[in-house]
């Protein structure tokens, strides 16, 4: 995609390819994995999470782009929570009807989507710097990427536990331990490896280290310089490219570009 000074229209195919596949929020950036670990125990539950997160992301990104651009970031974060909460409360009946066990397996994890880090990060990184249509498209794409991982994780766990797919309601649980977090994390690990293999094999230009661990060796400081200071002056960035927007900042630093992708 070319850099343009005017606000470009984001096509759904680009968003789907880059937002949900190349930069998959779960597999490459490890964002919002709590509901997948806890609630994606069957394929139906995974589907519920997928629909829920897509609705939450689309609504919060669209509203952010339309109304919240002028607010300071710390206020926006509270508003994202409120928007997500209202979406979750409005559509829970419909979403639970998708699940065979009436959402019982989802527990409280479904409602915890209202504080999902994915919505906050997508809104901050993309939605508050672009048009409502672009934000909506990105929300749907990220939701699909997240949802696909949730459904696959749920399906694998259901196959191991019940030996069924999308019909676990009456089946006998053979391995109840599969509901524990470590199984989900192992599945996510191998899914991430498979995802990376696909990228290396078919889209080698898109392989980037989106989850940088370069700062892990920093030593913790006992007194945080963030408090008791008045250095809060930095200009907001102007967004020009979708790829640039969803790429992490460190990727620019590593490739020698400055913060605005120049």
């Amino acid at each position: 995609m070319k850099n343009k000074k005017s606000k470009p229209v984001l096509s759904l195919s680009t968003a789907l390819f880059k937002g949900s596949f190349v930069h998959n929020p779960v597999l490459t950036q490890v964002i919002g994995i709590c509901p997948i670990i806890g609630a994606a125990t069957t394929a139906a539950n995974g589907l519920c999470l997928a629909v829920g997160i897509t609705a939450v992301l689309a609504a919060s990104e669209a509203v952010t782009s339309l109304l919240l651009k002028k607010l300071p970031r710390w206020v926006r974060m509270a508003v994202y929570t409120l928007i997500s909460l209202s979406v979750v409360l409005l559509c829970d009946r419909f979403i639970f009807s998708l699940s065979a066990d009436s959402g019982a397996g989802l527990g409280i994890y479904f409602y915890l989507l209202c504080v999902n880090a994915l919505a906050v990060i997508r809104c901050e990184k993309f939605a508050c710097k672009t048009t409502a249509l672009n934000a909506l498209t990105d929300g749907v794409a990220a939701g699909i990427g997240y949802g696909a991982v949730a459904v696959i994780t749920g399906a694998v766990r259901e196959l191991i536990t019940y030996g069924t797919l999308f019909s676990s309601a009456d089946a006998l649980s053979r391995f109840p331990q599969t509901a524990m977090p470590f199984t989900a994390l192992i599945i996510l690990g191998f899914l991430a490896a498979g995802h990376k293999w696909l990228l290396i094999k078919f889209y080698p230009d898109e392989v980037r280290d989106t989850f940088s661990m370069n700062a892990v060796n920093e030593k913790p400081v006992k007194k945080d310089p963030g408090l008791f200071s008045d250095k809060n002056k930095s200009k907001p960035k102007v967004i020009r490219d979708y790829d640039e927007a969803i790429r992490p900042r460190h990727a620019d630093r590593e490739s020698g570009k400055d913060g605005n992708g120049q």
Binding site: Q177, I186, G189
Partner: protein, 338 residues
């Protein structure tokens, strides 16, 4: 990178160490086969074969090298089989061995860089997924059905007696059976005589590695002495706690692992102390019947986090540091030139 000839050579320290572990495993296996018969041999063969196959295929596919020659996969499979009861269905052993190699070892690239001990991870996974099959031990001399864990007489282990607060003299087996291993338990963890022989062998071949074992056994013994669970005295408590489950087996073969435990003897001793304490705390407070392997996993996670000691071997760490240093120096030079 090592080629296959270098891997399969006594010059390779990994091969040398694993060969010794393999020798101890063989001795333990022979006692297990003597007590439990052909099924113990089958379990051992199946676990070892699965581990070696997984290592050969997985490492060949991902790293383009076959590291199965260093015997690490073989010993992993054997240790898992020795920790399982003879009545465990074969799929339990296959799952545990495959997990150990494909999940705990392969993603971290090399046997020298695994943060968690693969054999312990494999056994813990099997213990979580098939708790009933892994922690049900048959009575000595009971018959088994082929391909199944049902249809045998369940035996009372030392661990069962501990939880009920009994002492050895009150029960079916005494100290002689404890030495020979003729009592309900896992295939390779029952015979104290062979295990003590294993300690002797290790003391000759790898004396430094035994510092971790000493720490492990010492902390377990002290805690057993201070907080006894049996009504026959503190000394009896120490003996029974040490003989129960796979504690001595763990102290001999798992805590001594040169990759996951520290290399310096003093640090290895403290590592052992930590492992033993975790094991005894798990025994007192957790619901898992035998927590020795879990204690190894928890210590593997906690030790580097609390001490800041790197788990990686020195060469890897240095190789990684060098290019970074070069880059930094270049950056400084460029900045100076400007």
């Amino acid at each position: 990178m090592q080629n296959s000839k270098e891997i399969l050579s006594f010059r390779n320290p990994i091969f040398r160490y694993n060969a010794d572990i393999f020798a101890i495993c063989l001795a333990l296996s022979s006692v297990g086969i003597y007590h439990w018969g052909i099924y113990a041999l089958l379990q051992l063969l199946i676990c070892s074969l699965t581990a070696v196959l997984c290592e050969s295929i997985g490492f060949k596919a991902l790293l383009k090298k076959n590291t199965a020659g260093d015997l690490s996969a073989l010993t992993t499979g054997m240790i898992i089989a020795l920790l399982l009861p003879v009545s465990a269905p074969f799929y339990v052993g296959i799952t545990a061995s495959a997990f150990a190699v494909l999940v705990a070892k392969l993603p971290f690239g090399d046997v020298r860089n695994t943060p968690f001990l693969p054999a312990a991870a494999g056994f813990c996974f099997a213990a979580m997924m098939f708790t009933e099959a892994v922690f049900t031990y048959p009575a000595v001399g009971s018959d088994f059905a082929f391909f199944g864990s049902e249809g045998f007489v369940k035996g009372k282990t030392v661990f069962d007696m501990l939880s009920e607060g009994n002492s050895l003299s009150l029960n079916v087996f005494g100290r002689v059976s404890l030495l020979s291993g003729a009592y309900p338990g896992a295939i390779g963890t029952t015979s104290m005589l062979v295990l003590l022989g294993g300690f002797g062998y290790m003391a000759v071949r790898h004396p430094k590695r035994l510092f971790a074992s000493c720490g492990y056994l010492l902390s377990a013994a002290v805690l057993a002495f201070l907080f006894p669970r049996v009504n026959s005295g503190r000394l009896s408590s120490v003996i029974i706690e040490l003989c129960a489950g796979g504690l001595i087996f763990t102290a001999l073969l798992l805590i001594t692992d040169p990759v996951t435990s520290p290399r310096k003897p003093d640090r290895a001793f403290f590592y052992g102390l930590m492992g033993g304490t975790v094991c005894m705390l798990l025994r007192y407070f957790s619901k898992t019947p035998d927590a020795a392997c879990f204690s190894i996993l928890i210590t593997n996670a906690l030790w580097p986090a609390l001490t800041g000691e790197t788990i990686l071997n020195k060469k890897t760490a240095e190789k990684y540091k060098k290019p970074l240093m070069k880059k930094k120096q270049e950056g400084i030079r460029k900045a100076g030139a400007k």
